[in-house]
């Protein structure tokens, strides 16, 4: 990572930055206690949290970049890398696990070409193994963005991935 890339915020969308700044201004004091809240907002706006954005937030909240990065890397919800258009989240809760979600996950990686923390080369898919999403009655479960697919068997994986790949091609 080049230090210049961290200092330079010109690559960030200025309208989104303005929205983030006004969000921070409205936050309750002390501001640094709102860090997680602010990071949720930033990730919602930008999709992920690149180093220059983290530094920008640090300056606004009057805390160190190290502190911000410490929090970003501590919590699994925050992404430092760019995400694909569709995020496939395979539930790794116990109920799903005993019904074979580990095999489903392996196949999702294989079918999408994505790797852990790295989106697929075509930018279509990111794959995550997630903690229990609480739909244990439908185990094993995966979700694509917000849509939940229940009772997923190994043989259904390819067709689910194909639906979204086709959607992407259409767009």
């Amino acid at each position: 990572m080049n230090i210049q890339d961290v200092l330079d915020t010109s690559s960030l969308d200025s309208n989104k930055l303005l929205e983030l700044d006004s969000f921070i201004d409205q936050c309750e004091n002390p501001k640094h206690e709102q860090l997680i809240h602010v990071l949720h907002k930033a990730q919602h706006l930008f999709g992920y949290l690149p180093p220059n954005l983290q530094r920008h937030i640090a300056l606004k909240l009057n805390c160190s970049s190290a502190q911000v990065n410490g929090v970003v890397t501590f919590y699994s919800f925050f992404n430092e890398n760019k995400m694909g258009e569709f995020t496939i989240s395979v539930c790794m809760g116990t109920a799903c696990f005993v019904k074979g979600s580990d095999k489903v996950l392996d196949l999702v990686y294989k079918e999408t070409g994505a790797e852990k923390d790295v989106m697929s080369e075509d930018g279509v898919f990111s794959v995550k193994d997630v903690r229990c999403i609480g739909a244990c009655g439908l185990a094993p479960v995966l979700s694509v963005n917000e849509k939940v697919f229940g009772h997923v068997e190994a043989k259904n994986v390819k067709s689910i991935v194909d639906i979204y790949r086709k959607n992407h091609v259409k767009n």
Partner: protein
């Protein structure tokens, strides 16, 4: 909506309150996360549209309600008058239900619950095995009220406890009542709720806090989410009572980021409570002031530990700290802070209204009351089960859960999630309470109960949990950070057939050391799944250690008819064979998914 200015006017308001009085038919549709993903929201809209078209909107209400608990049969539609339960309702059934049940007053038999053993049809909940042994306190409103309308909660007896506490009891009497009830923390530890409150009460300072721990991170547990989604006011009422007892002025609900719907419902509930003057300054015209804000987590299991949770609320990394001092003495901003779990708080209003003696009568002498369990895995009736403490595993899994879906043998029950252990058949008749579980090497945990059949590989299960805790270790203390990693490496070595018999002893001794030397509850319990499976299923570990474990499926040559169904179903195409000829599985490629096993029409596939 206007502010209620005194306790008397609240009591009058509650007596006169009759929400949806003119409604003749009520349709309750489960709008919990699980049912929503099975299109419950679309069905709600369809029913609404049909009502509008038939001009029935004034006498027929479609109510979005919380989880009924019987998730395996979801989405469930409950119709009043009566208590008709239609199960596994699909979009294409909506017209039929509307025409038959609502317009023609005829029951749609095919959608009623059918007992898989006796083949008998159940019309209402009281005749379903799943509900018969349950005793609902924390879940009592789930499925019976619209969680987004405060009047329904109040009309059902909600906020009566608060009104009683404020008008008839001193803070210390509230604490005494909770103390005498014997209520213990439902989040896992089982610490006395009354004692926690009392410690905070005795601290003399200008600021105190109440935190509701809704960071339900235990994989396979979803009871707290169901309460947040189905009955959010019960949690808020519990928090206000806790605040009154301890003289706290501010509260937080710390909830997982994954629980979007629960957060939304809690937010609505808080705003409605505020509008009625149940939160804010001078609650119900008294001198008490208390308000609640929601804090959203960001995906860290360790934040369920109370000191880590407090650090997370303060905007930092969720790293636990040494106890004592306990949060009740020094917590958020180093002020006395009571941290209670969702289910614990949902019990509080009931205890205040009905008294501690009533609560003590339920459950066992050391663990009074009920516990909600999330029943999942290889069991027929998946869902939320609330039973009196002292109920046995067998009653939960067989009488309520209906046993294995294919009536196969159940090998073990995992309880307590990544902090708990497995229970073998020998202990299925143990009455469940905090002490009895500890005595057999498990723990209550938050209440996840996963049923496992003979196909479950206990070494893989232990590895799954350890992989989870190892990944979730915050990294502060060495035993947990490095110890769990080493244990995981040993398990990986074993499962990839590279291990040896000495590894089993290393696992055990390392596990013991991590348990007594870790800083917080996460590390102190992380080795439990490994240690308990190592005790009860040593032979499975030995099969890996001696490298005799067979992992791939194979085909019985005497039975194979060469139908090609297995080869076509195999997701990794590792089955070779021509039509009407013997098929063979390449065992080096087999991922043991079992697809071929379900596909084979002649039972020629042999399980590993």
């Amino acid at each position: 909506m206007s502010r209620i200015k005194s306790i008397d006017s609240f009591n009058t308001f509650q007596t006169l309150l009759k929400p949806r009085e003119d409604v003749r038919i009520k349709l309750f549709m489960c709008a919990g996360t699980s049912c929503l993903s099975s299109e419950a929201d679309i069905m709600i809209q369809m029913f609404q549209k049909l009502c509008d078209e038939h001009e029935l909107s004034h006498q027929c209400a479609i109510i979005k309600t919380g989880c009924f608990g019987f998730c395996g049969q979801g989405p469930i539609l409950r119709i009043e008058p009566g208590d008709y339960h239609y199960v596994q309702v699909k979009v294409e059934d909506v017209d039929e239900i509307f025409n038959e049940h609502i317009l023609n007053k005829r029951i749609v038999k095919r959608l009623l619950y059918r007992n898989p053993h006796s083949d008998e049809i159940s019309i209402d909940a009281s005749s379903m095995d799943f509900y018969q042994k349950q005793h609902r306190i924390a879940l009592k409103n789930c499925g019976h009220i619209d969680p987004e309308i405060i009047d329904e909660y109040i009309a059902n007896g909600g906020y009566t406890a608060l009104s009683k506490a404020l008008s008839e009891m001193t803070p210390f009497e509230v604490i005494t009542c909770i103390n005498e009830s014997g209520l213990r923390g439902r989040g896992g530890g089982g610490f006395s709720t009354g004692v926690k409150w009392e410690v905070a009460y005795l601290e003399e300072t200008n600021e105190k806090f109440i935190i509701c721990n809704a960071d339900e991170g235990d994989p396979g547990a979803f009871m707290d989410r169901a309460i947040c989604e189905g009955d959010p006011h019960s949690i808020i009422e519990g928090m206000i009572i806790a605040a009154y007892a301890t003289k706290a002025t501010r509260g937080f609900i710390y909830i997982r980021a994954e629980y979007a719907l629960a957060t939304h419902r809690l937010q609505i509930a808080i705003e409605q409570a505020r509008a009625y003057g149940l939160l804010g300054t001078n609650i119900l015209g008294t001198l008490m002031s208390f308000d609640i804000s929601i804090k959203i987590g960001a995906g860290a299991f360790v934040c369920g530990e109370e000191t880590a949770l407090i650090r997370s609320i303060e905007g930092g990394r969720g790293e636990p700290k040494n106890k004592p001092p306990y949060p009740s003495v020094s917590g958020y901003h180093r002020k006395p802070t009571v941290v209670n779990n969702v289910e614990t708080l949902a019990n509080v209003p009931n205890i205040i209204v009905k008294g501690s003696a009533w609560f003590r009568d339920i459950g066992t002498s050391t663990s009074p009351g009920t516990k909600v369990f999330a029943l999942a895995g290889h069991v027929r009736n998946i869902g939320l089960v609330e039973v009196p403490m002292g109920t046995t595993f067998r009653e939960i899994v067989y009488d309520i859960g209906g046993g294995h879906p294919k009536d196969r043998k159940i090998k073990a029950i995992q309880i307590g999630g990544p902090s708990g252990g497995v229970i073998t058949e020998k202990y299925f008749d143990t009455p469940i309470d905090y002490e009895s579980l500890k005595a057999i090497g498990a723990m209550m945990g938050s209440g996840g109960m996963i049923v496992m059949d003979e196909d479950s590989d206990m070494v893989e299960v232990a590895k799954f949990y350890l992989d989870f805790t190892q990944d979730e270790s915050c990294g502060q203390c060495t035993p947990c950070r490095i110890g769990t990693k080493r244990m995981l490496e040993i398990l990986e070595r074993l499962t990839s057939m590279q291990g040896s018999i000495e590894d089993l002893e290393s696992l055990r001794s390392l596990g013991e050391i991590i348990k007594w030397s870790s800083l917080c509850g996460l590390g102190q319990t992380a080795p439990n799944p490994v240690l308990s499976t190592l005790t009860h299923f040593r032979e499975e570990y030995e099969a890996y250690a001696y490298r005799t474990k067979k992992k791939a499926y194979s085909i019985d040559p005497a039975k194979c008819i060469g139908c090609t169904k297995c080869a076509r179903s195999c997701p990794v195409t590792c089955i070779e064979g021509k039509v009407k000829q013997l098929h063979v599985i390449d065992e080096s490629l087999c991922i043991a998914c079992g697809a071929c096993f379900s596909a084979c029409p002649v039972n020629a596939i042999i399980r590993p």
